[in-house]
Amino acid sequence: MAGCTSRCRQGVLKFMQSLRRLVFGTLSKDKIDDELEMTMVCHRPEGLEQLEAQTNFTKRELQVLYRGFKNECPSGVVNEETFKHIYAQFFPHGDASTYAHYLFNAFDSTKNGSIKFEDFVMGLSLLLRGSTREKLEWTFHLYDINRDGYISREEMTEIVRAIYDMMGKYTYPALKGDVPKQHVDAFFQKMDKNKDGVVTLDEFVLACQEDETMMRSMQLFENVI
């Protein structure tokens, strides 16, 4: 009996569908995309010798780097969206978009919203083959969002929040209370020597060089490439 009713229902449904098709026909509207804007921006980097001179990489390393870069971005530039997307792949647990934004700005030396290969390679050269001072300077520029030469408490809070966002919700121990704020307070305690509420480049470098553990950690990233 149940089968009968279900069959009846199906039959009625089919009939209604065919009636509908009869009235409206089976034509579907044509979707016309008039706007096919193909903005193909192509960028070529400077010559290999120049880059070799400007950076601390060998020719072979530059070649490997460029091949990888060109493969991912055939147009020669990375825009912020792509960059965020790529960076987010490495941190699937949380939300890496904010930090990626700051990172993007740190690499984008020309501030035109896209990273060229030169920016990419210069940044890497600093981070991997640069002196300690250069690395610290790069980090300072990363933290200094508005590029005014000072790291304020608000900027630092934003950066720290962005980093904690990448962790996601499920951490151990659980994120209770305003952990970023405490982290920022600890940071300023350490860095802000003259307690004027902002950290300058010199204060930053000095405070970092005093920190033994950090100096040791700096050496860890030499062999990434």
């Binding site: 065919s18 490495f90 980093i163 950690s217 490439i225």
Partner: protein, 633 residues
């Protein structure tokens, strides 16, 4: 994680320097990278075409053949390259996948070849890029449908019935495939004839005949010879009823059968007669009775069992139902609009035909379909203007859905053509395969004749034996081993039959249900022997055949000249042979495949004069004995 971002990982790790000042704890030690950092170029040789690529490129997809250590199996130390014996054209696409991360499907390639290559290289087809995915899926679906169709056609109704099928199953089969047995065919044609007779009788019934003597008025023939027509009608209805009841009995699923279209048509064809019998000669009801007689014309639809074209037409209409529906709907809309307009335009005219809007429907329909009877004509200027607009738009509205219907019909028709052609070609293909198989058997027997099974040490080994390939030697050795295992020898049909005849073992008549009247071209004094040979060699139709009863190949008995020693050796083992002669059920290599009804059997016949006698299955039954006497492999 997508493999493409592997390129960015070093960058992300480098950027981790930015966390150092904030870090509360020390950073962990980085993993030691054992691989050499410098990238190397790999050489991949695919059937002579040399490809070169970075090792990094291939490493991007570690779960494929080229990305994993599986490729080491193909490494050639001498040439320092990876060698694959595959299609170089396809490899191009596979390598492009590694390079760009997107797999594209080349449109000109066969879908199966492409699938096989992907399977070999360990790539799942699901990652085909969006640009090519639709095409790939369509082709794959089409291919699968085609294969299913072929399988259906191949096995479908042609397989022989299992021996212990009930009479009901046999009956159903006879109804569905009338070419399986003579009786079914006869019945098929008889019903067809009676359908025609019934329809013609219905038509002729109404033709006016010369009036009976004494009256003036012309009578329709039906009333003049009412008894004759009644008898004819009764006979037809009896046949139809009988057929319907038999089908109902034989149907595997009666419920489903009763719901099918053909069954409904059958019922509608015979019901009016019975209703007419049952109903009394009542004045009121006779009007309805006359209406019922109209339904007798539905008998013409019974022809669709007999005609494939009708079925195709019906199927086309069914598949275009939505287009037809749309046509109807748009026509209705137009009719209403124009009828209204014409009515109001012609309202003022005296004595006009456009008395109401429904009355104007007739005018609109006749005008839109460009019939133009002229029984209703507008008189006012406005009416004429709207009338012309009406006829112009009618042409447009009707012309629109027609190409859709036509293309549908064309597609279905060609599909059917293709199916029929495929069936015809199957026979040719199977014949060629049979020929090849026969060749193998004969090769072995020839090998034995040439003394190939003796020791090869002696110099007197025949040259022809020496010239055989290593494969042949090994294959023949294998067959020889089988012979030794079973203590019986392979032979060919002729020798076997001759030995059997010399044994004079009793014959049982063949169980073939129908024999065509062909005789084999052996003239013999022994009628039974001849019959037996005829059974074997002629066109027996025990094996199921759809279509005509004739076989594809003309058979000739090819007298292979056997070397004397083999025959004597055979005669030496007569006791063994005796056992096997009793049983007629020797294995047949291939069952003949019949012609389809559409094609004449002769046009697809390749002349095959060199084929030795090919066995037919005289009984596709059990094989109680060991498969020893294998006359054809």
């Amino acid at each position: 994680m997508a493999a493409g971002v592997a390129t960015w990982l070093p960058f992300a790790r480098a950027a981790a320097v930015g966390w150092l000042p904030l870090a509360k704890k020390t950073m962990p030690k980085p993993p030691i990278d054992k691989k050499s950092r410098s990238d190397e170029i790999l050489f991949v040789n695919v059937s002579g075409l040399r490809f070169q690529t970075w090792k990094n490129t291939l490493d991007r997809y570690p779960d494929t053949l080229l990305g994993s250590s599986e490729k080491e199996f193909f490494y050639n130390e001498d040439t320092q390259e990876y060698f694959f014996d595959r299609d170089p054209e396809m490899f191009r696409h596979v390598l492009n996948f590694y390079r760009t991360g997107k797999l594209h499907y080349p449109r000109h390639e066969c879908i199966q070849a492409f699938d096989e290559e992907l399977a070999f290289y360990g790539i799942v087809p699901e990652i085909i890029g969006d640009c090519c995915m639709e095409e790939y899926r369509d082709r794959k679906k089409e291919n699968q449908e085609r294969l299913a169709e072929d399988n259906e056609a191949g096995e479908g109704g042609d397989a022989p019935l299992p021996p212990n099928s009930t009479s009901r199953e046999r009956l159903w089969r006879a109804f569905e495939n009338p070419h399986t047995s003579t009786m079914a065919l006869v019945f098929y044609y008889v019903t067809g004839f009676f359908i025609a007779v019934s329809v013609i009788a219905n038509v002729v019934e109404t033709v006016p005949c010369r009036p009976i003597k004494g009256t003036v008025k012309d009578l329709p023939c039906g009333e003049k010879y009412s008894l004759a027509f009644f008898c004819m009608d009764t006979a037809c209805v009896l046949i139809f009823t009988f057929e319907y009841l038999m089908r109902l009995f034989a149907a595997p699923s009666r419920c489903k059968f009763m719901r099918s279209v053909m069954s409904v048509i059958d019922v509608v064809a015979i019901m009016p007669y019975y209703i007419g019998l049952i109903m009394p000669e009542n004045e009121d009801v006779s009007g309805a009775f006359v209406t019922l007689r109209v339904f007798r014309v539905f008998r013409i639809f019974k022809f669709s069992r007999h005609s494939q074209g009708l079925r195709i037409l019906g199927y086309t209409l069914k598949s275009c139902a939505s287009e037809l529906g749309f046509l109807l709907f748009s026509l209705t809309m137009a009719i209403i609009i124009f009828a209204t307009v014409m009515f109001y335009a012609e309202k003022g005219t005296k004595g006009t035909n456009f008395t109401s809007i429904p009355a104007a429907f007739w005018y609109t329909i006749v005008t839109m379909t460009t019939l133009g009877y002229g029984d209703m004509v507008p008189n006012t200027i406005a009416g004429k203007i709207f009338g012309s607009i009406c006829s112009l738009s009618g042409v447009l509205v009707i012309a629109l859905p027609v190409p859709v219907i036509v293309s549908n019909f064309s597609r279905i028709y060609h599909q059917n053509q293709r199916a029929d052609k495929m069936r015809a070609q199957q026979k040719v293909r199977m014949a060629r395969i049979r020929l090849a198989k026969k060749g193998t058997t004969n090769a072995f027997l020839q090998y034995k004749d040439d003394g190939g099974l003796q020791d090869h040490d002696s110099d007197s080994t025949a040259l022809c034996v020496k010239n055989r390939s290593a494969f042949e030697h090994q294959h023949h050795h294998l067959l020889h081993c089988l012979e030794k295992t079973t203590n019986h020898e392979f032979t060919d049909e002729l020798t076997y039959s001759e030995v059997c005849m010399t044994e004079s073992v009793g014959y049982r008549t063949s169980r073939s249900t129908s024999l065509s009247s062909h005789q084999g071209n052996s003239s013999s004094c022994c009628p039974r022997r001849a019959k037996r040979r005829a059974i074997r060699l002629a066109n027996s139709t025990v094996s199921v055949s759809r279509g005509s009863m004739q076989e594809l190949d003309t058979l000739q008995v090819h007298k292979t000249s056997l070397a004397p020693q083999s025959r004597s050796s055979l005669n030496a083992r007569t006791e063994d042979l005796k056992l096997n002669c009793d049983d007629r059920d020797f294995t047949a290599a291939i069952i003949s495949i019949p012609t389809p009804p559409a094609n004449t059997p002769d046009e697809s016949l390749p002349p095959s004069p060199a084929i030795p006698g090919i066995l037919r299955n005289s009984r596709s039954g059990s094989f109680p004995h060991d498969p020893v006497k294998i006359s054809s492999l």
